[in-house]
Amino acid sequence: MVESAWERTLVVMPAFNEEESIGDVIREVFAKLPGMNLLVVDDGSVDDTARVARKAGAMVAVLPFNLGVGGAMRAGFKFAIERGYRNVVQIDADGQHDPASAPRLLEALESADLVIGARFAGEGEYRVTGPRKWAMRILAVTLSRTAGARLTDTTSGYRAAGPKAVAVFAAHYPAEYLGDTIEALVIAARSGCVIRQVPVAMRVRSGGVPSHDPGRAAAYLGRACIALLFALARPSSPGLVRDA
């Protein structure tokens, strides 16, 4: 199954100031997923991210200013629709997601529209503590109910979307902070997408700095809960601007 599915699959890699790691990450994707289509969305980086990514052989879409992960991903989903890709796999540019897990996510797409690579479902060493852990716990319980499936890691950026989810996300992927993970799940569930999770191992960053360090964990808790409340309270057809 795998090889044929790849042809119609696009890996989208949101990147913000990742010149240190992105070259190696792209080469690893090509090494582990030969012939994969890879789009890097450079989100207004001030460093050499776009050039490094092009040199490594990826297609690179450069956003004129920073839109956040959600904004970058929606551009990626639109690109997928424009070029006729059926599936989109999101892989982070910091090397935390092992591309070797992507085929398993794609396989799971056969019985789902959206597959989350979950970090705590048994594999790998990734651990979080304190308020961020509690935020994740609350999110997991609430979103599992919304999605009608057991989800343990709702903020994971390692995801695969099938044709139905790609179409929904190309029109309505949220740009708010944390919206890309939390609200996207709510939108998908409300659009009737089947959501599943697959355990993946998570590695430590290969360079650069994480966008939310432990010091900002308390703020993360608050904002995550607010994001969740708003996502659940919104009418089911989001988006203010209708796109062409």
């Binding site: 690179v60 879409a61 956003l63 839109l67 424009e82 203010l240 601007v241």
Partner: protein, 127 residues
């Protein structure tokens, strides 16, 4: 009320209205942004010309001091204007977002086309 403050009230209200109308006329302000300013200007003018309306309306709405009704309405209008601006800002942001996406995707297409063109011209030159 003293005559100077009576005249001052009318002149200020007329000034606000005049500025709003002039901006509208020069198309520097769109109607939907001007609505609340127009409402405020007209109310101020009415109260300025006929202070008795204020003395009549205040007790009716339960205000002991008529001036408190003025403050209440003024603050209320400012809050509405600020809220409208926030909503407009959100709308503008989502429009800019669409533009940014389109510019990124078009840039990508342009690069691909340029590359293809360069390849083809190179081929032609050789062959």
């Amino acid at each position: 009320m003293e005559t100077p403050s009576y005249i001052f009230g009318i002149v200020s209200a007329a000034l606000v209205l005049g500025v709003v109308v002039e901006l509208l006329r020069r198309r520097q302000l769109r109607e939907r942004h001007a609505l609340w300013w127009l409402v405020a200007g007209v109310l101020a003018l009415i109260v300025g010309i006929f202070p008795s309306t204020l003395r009549w309306a205040a007790p009716l709405l339960g205000f002991e001091l008529p001036i408190n009704l003025v403050f209440f309405v003024s603050i209320g209008i400012l809050v509405l204007v600020a809220l409208q601006h926030s909503a407009e800002l959100t709308l503008l942001e989502s429009k800019t977002r669409v533009l940014a996406e389109q510019s990124a995707l078009q840039d990508l297409r342009l690069r691909a086309l340029e590359q293809q063109l360069a390849l083809e011209t190179a081929k032609k030159r050789q062959g």
